[in-house]
């Protein structure tokens, strides 16, 4: 997904001379083609995320569209004030390409796990937050990213993720995609939790439970209309996210239903990370399993909630 995303940056740079690339200290050879063809629009600035985001703001104030890339934790935590003030207060079209959203970097430990990035970024005015579920959806997103007026935080998955998005659904920022029609149950997901929800839905169908999947590739602005409409005849909404429960997609869904005062309100069950730092390494899959976020855990949660409703 990362390679796809960066290839798209080069494609966009060929189409539009406003596009610039700013990396911090990425691996050798990153966007070598773009560096060779557009050396004046390609920057590798070093391990200096505060500066990198401020510099991108300066470029954007002059009419450029910077695509900034580094690891998600450093691109959210380290330069938070620059994101809030330089990008969001000025409402600048800077794109933050965040490698390793969630627990992609599980083997590297808590310093590299972007577990609260959605929460801290979605609460900032003017910020847009997206988490495509696979490389093909990333490609569709990137093509519409160019002319979006606001800053965008782009949460990348690991790469090699099963392709479940469909070309016919297209990609419109802020518009949710129904990948499976809602039934008694509706999964509301973002990023690669969508694949897990689809798998859980398939398993649940075998036991007679129809569970739909509403894919929120855009967390902010949330597609409120699609969420409320999809949940009209649903008994149980299960949110699943590769993120702490506090402040993420599940919180947002709760807020939305509360504010909409839509009756009857479905039961809402949230699945995400606990209020704890990871205490083990392993892999993204193993950590998701430990934190009860694999498809088996989603199936179990639905059965449990329906049994107690």
């Amino acid at each position: 997904m990362r390679r796809t995303c960066l290839n798209c940056v080069y494609d966009l740079a060929q189409r539009d001379e406003r596009v610039v690339f700013v990396g911090s200290d990425l691996g050798p050879g990153v966007l070598e083609d773009m560096k060779n063809r557009f050396p004046d629009r390609w920057f590798m600035e070093g391990v200096a995320e505060q500066h990198v985001v401020g510099m991108a703001a300066g470029l954007a104030m002059e009419g450029f569209i910077p695509y900034v890339n580094t690891i998600a934790t450093f691109l959210s935590r380290r330069c938070y004030e620059q994101i809030v003030l330089d990008l969001c207060l000025h409402r600048l079209p800077v794109r933050l390409i965040a490698n390793g959203g969630g627990v992609v970097y599980a083997p590297l430990g808590p310093t590299h796990l972007a577990t609260e990035d959605i929460a801290i970024l979605r609460c900032v005015p003017n910020m847009t937050v997206v988490a495509p579920c696979d490389a093909e959806e990333m490609t569709r997103f990137m093509s519409v990213s160019l002319d979006w007026p606001d800053p965008i935080y782009i949460r990348l998955a690991k790469g090699g993720d099963e392709v479940v998005s469909r070309a016919e659904n297209g990609f419109e920022i802020g518009k949710a995609i129904t990948l499976r029609e809602p039934g008694q149950v509706l999964f509301v997901t973002t990023g690669v939790m969508t694949q897990r929800a689809l798998a859980a839905s398939t398993v649940l169908a075998k036991s007679g439970v129809h569970a739909g999947v509403l894919h929120m590739h855009t967390i902010k602005p949330l597609d409120i209309d699609a969420l409320l409409e999809a949940a009209v005849d649903v008994e149980l909404v299960v949110t699943a996210e590769e993120h702490v429960l506090a402040g993420g997609l599940g919180s947002l869904v709760l807020e939305t239903f509360n504010d909409a005062r839509q009756a009857p309100m479905p039961k809402i069950s949230r699945m995400g990370f606990p209020d704890a730092f990871a205490s083990e390494y392993g892999s993204q899959d193993s950590l998701l399993r430990s934190w009860n976020l694999d498809s088996d855990a989603l199936v179990a949660r639905v059965h449990d909630e329906l049994a107690h409703s």
Binding site: G46, H51, M55, G58, M61, E62, E81, D86, L89
Partner: protein
Amino acid sequence: METQHSDPSIMLDSRSRELRGLIVRALIGGNRGHLGSSMSLVEILRVLFDSYLQYKPHEPKWPDRDRFILSKGHGCLALYALLADKGFFSHEALDEFCHSSGILGGHPEANKIPGVEASTGALGHGLPIGVGMALAGRIRQQQYRVAVVTGDGEINEGSNWEAAMSAANNKLDSLSVFVDYNKLQSYGSTKEVCDLEPLAEKWRSFGFSVREVDGHNVKALKSCIKALPFEPNKPNVVICHTVKGKGFDFAEGQAIWHHKSRFSSEDIERMHAALDRN
């Protein structure tokens, strides 16, 4: 090397007094403000706006203008005085400093005030933004220059030094940093809180071409700025030795006058008296 200081015998001329009068007008209008932090800046900004920067007050976004960023946003009253003086907005706007109906806040905001390029106030943001603007000018082969004014306490922030490394690495000789070195930050002296010395050596070692100047000596400032860029392919820094609260004897060198959120009638009398005396 011993730290330089501004010559205390420098007399303020009528223009410097007039600009300080505009600042006092805003201070009284808002009944608050960073007096000390603004007064140390007056001559630096005066020389920049009178003798260096290219701009059009009635076309603030003129593409070929020089870019000016007041990174020490808390010194905004000095910038407001210059912008009002140059006609970016009316003098009456100063009376509404920090009012809910006014455009001039306690820190400058780009989307509200003509002539303000970047919203600042949180420290350490102006230089990275200035680097981006200078790079943008290079990409587009525009001839504009970028001037960033920082405080001395402000450069405690590491982001300045991240940006400084980048400015040198990118050989941005169109970028100039002006450090308002009044030797006082909020708590007390810069030497006591977090000593900046050897400051010129620091900037030099970061790849800048460095000059030091008395930040209240208009002639010396003009002569220094006229020599920009100091060296090809190197960013510039002018360390301006200043006095916090310059021109207001009761406030000069007094950390307590960094910021005041209410003025007594005696404070206001003292401000007026100082303006008359100068």
